[in-house]
């Protein structure tokens, strides 16, 4: 029983970390219809900023998160204007080509300026201590990640379902021309949702750095994982992404506990099984 609880809590933490990083990509793919393989590159950029702020300047973790999110969004603005805007509405494979190109560039540039070593984001002492939760100890930052995941999920749900912006966003997604005719500034909606998605990537990159460490190759190393999680959840669905992250996190974690030798088999077999049963992901919309 203790073991099950223990595995469960690990799975939940890992799933939530995945969720925070992936949900931005789910929004870009589901709502903006852009297969943004450079998503991880933005998370990585945020990680570098946070590492610089927290480790080299010593300004503290909270500052690091805020500056990383803002900094990454600012960096993404010219990219959105000059590159991404050209591929809205293009075929998926053209988008893949462009965003892989961006990823390569970001990796090359990062490697050039910051070198190939791992970058850490020092945690405040409160988060770096193991916490005793009765039946075992767990790192405090894992609890923090879980909380962040829940807050992000709830916040996003509120923004998309309950605010004026959310209504405009959904209208634009369903029928951009119609929304335009109804006076919605679709360009602005796209720009804002792009910024939102990048901001989430940045937040996830920093908060999830304890699971997925920051280094130049980050952008490609975890690309497959992100893509798989988003697709299994159904692009654009918050609930779908939550469930996909929890299910895949649980499969991954229990698989690695029960039969570590075959951990990858479990993970990908689960992906195949889920996709065969839910061909559009858990909560994917019919195209």
């Amino acid at each position: 029983m203790q073991t099950i609880l223990s595995i469960g809590i690990d799975a939940f933490a890992y799933g939530m970390a995945l969720f925070i990083i992936c949900i931005g990509l789910s929004l870009t793919m589901g709502l903006m219809r852009v297969v943004n393989l450079a998503h991880g590159a933005f998370a990585m950029i945020a990680g570098y900023i946070a590492s610089y702020v927290a480790r080299d300047l010593g300004w503290g973790y909270g500052f690091a998160i805020i500056l990383a999110v803002i900094g990454t969004i600012i960096l993404s603005i010219p990219l959105e204007r000059f590159l991404f805007r050209r591929i809205y509405g293009s075929s998926e494979l053209t988008q893949v080509l462009m965003t892989i190109g961006i990823t390569f560039c970001v990796i090359g540039i990062t490697n050039y300026f910051f070198g190939p070593t791992l970058k850490t984001i020092p945690l405040p002492t409160g988060l770096s201590q193991p916490v005793d939760v009765g039946f075992r100890t767990i790192a405090a930052h894992r609890l923090f990640v879980m909380a962040c995941g829940l807050v992000v999920a709830a916040g996003l749900w509120y923004v998309i379902e309950r605010t004026a912006f959310g209504i405009k966003l959904r209208a634009t997604v369903d029928n951009a021309a119609m929304a335009d005719a109804l006076g919605v500034k679709t360009q602005v909606v796209y720009a804002v949702s792009f910024a939102l998605a990048i901001g989430l990537a940045a937040f996830g990159g920093v908060v999830g750095a304890e699971f997925l460490p920051i280094e130049p190759y980050y952008a490609l190393r975890y690309m497959v994982t992100f893509l798989v999680v988003v697709s299994v959840g159904g692009a654009g669905s918050i609930l779908g992404a939550v469930i996909a992250c929890l299910v895949l996190g649980a499969v991954d974690t229990t698989g690695r506990y029960l039969m570590p030798d075959f951990g990858n088999f479990f993970f990908y077999a689960a992906v195949i099984a889920i996709v065969c049963v839910f061909p559009r992901g858990f909560f994917g919309k019919a195209q």
Binding site: T117, R136, T225, T253
Partner: protein, 393 residues
Amino acid sequence: MSSVKKLLCAAVGALIAGSVSASADTVKVGIIGPFSGPFALQGKNFQAGVEAYMALNGKSVKGHDVEVIYRDLPAANPAQSRALAQELIVKDKVQYLGGVYFTPDALAITPLLKQANAPLVIFNAATSAIMTQSPLVVRTSFTTAQTTTPLGKIAVDRGVKKVVTAVSDYGPGVDAENAFKKAFEAAGGKVVEAIRMPLNTNDFSPIMQRVRDSGAEAVFAFLPSGPTTLGFVKAYNETGLKQAGIKFFAPGDLTQESDLPALGDGALGLLTTFHYAVSHDSPENKRFVEAATKAIGGADQLSFPAVGAFDGMHVIYKMIEATDGKQDAQKAVDAVKGLSWTSPRGPVSIDADTRHITENIYLREVVKGPDGKLINKEIETFANQKDPGLASQ
């Protein structure tokens, strides 16, 4: 200055010997390594080792200028490895091949060597079997079995009877598991469970849970240098294994110096065995570290592949010397069989039978150095270790 002097000496000596053609010729050396991509750091260390050696020992041997050509092979890819080697040999006319980080890449080159009449000096690729593929291969790094074997006795000496092994599920990981198991059980210990972890594991908590459930007194781990070691060491600390007194043994790949700043205080006290620590205390190493740091551009990036490359260049220089700049692979390899010298890592020699390096293996503990940075402090020496993987064949 000293390099100029050396050059002069070499030139004078050559003139006296009268064995050098009047025109200064160039001997080319092709270095293949992961200079970009996920293993770029290791490739940079190759380059740093090579440049450090050439900075300290001059860019020519007996009047033959040495020119190094780098070729990038970002990840294990034998087809590309062969293509690069072929191009270096046929087009760039290199006389020596060096570098090679991954085993399959080395295996793709070995069939070419005889026809190419070129020796291959391996700076890293650490599987025993490579040496048997061609008589023209010399290796200046280590094998996983070589660095791991002393740990068996060390663990038993420290009162550990039951161990769980947790290794990355690929060639070197399996080598490490086998080598440790053999040494540990020979010393009277027992491996209660052997876990193989997929290479792309991100979250190691479930593994740690398994270690804890097994009731072992220690965990033996092997992971390739890089990001995953960070997650593993973190998980070891955070899941409370460390507090519970479960010991941690690993070959030194896991605590390579360039990863230590990222591992942070969580790495304190980890025991690893390896052939080289940047903190090794000797005049040779001081000179090496100084030169290599300059070449790589930052002390925190320096790691073990640099010393493999440094000594690899030493071997290549000796080969050039022995063949007097002429292309004769067999003569070059024969000349370095049994060669011994003092490397930055300590006394080493090339085993005449296996052409693999014989070296000291050190037990190290991660501690805070005098300047507060983490180092691998050597606390015990196992002298003149050969590769057990090859010795048994």
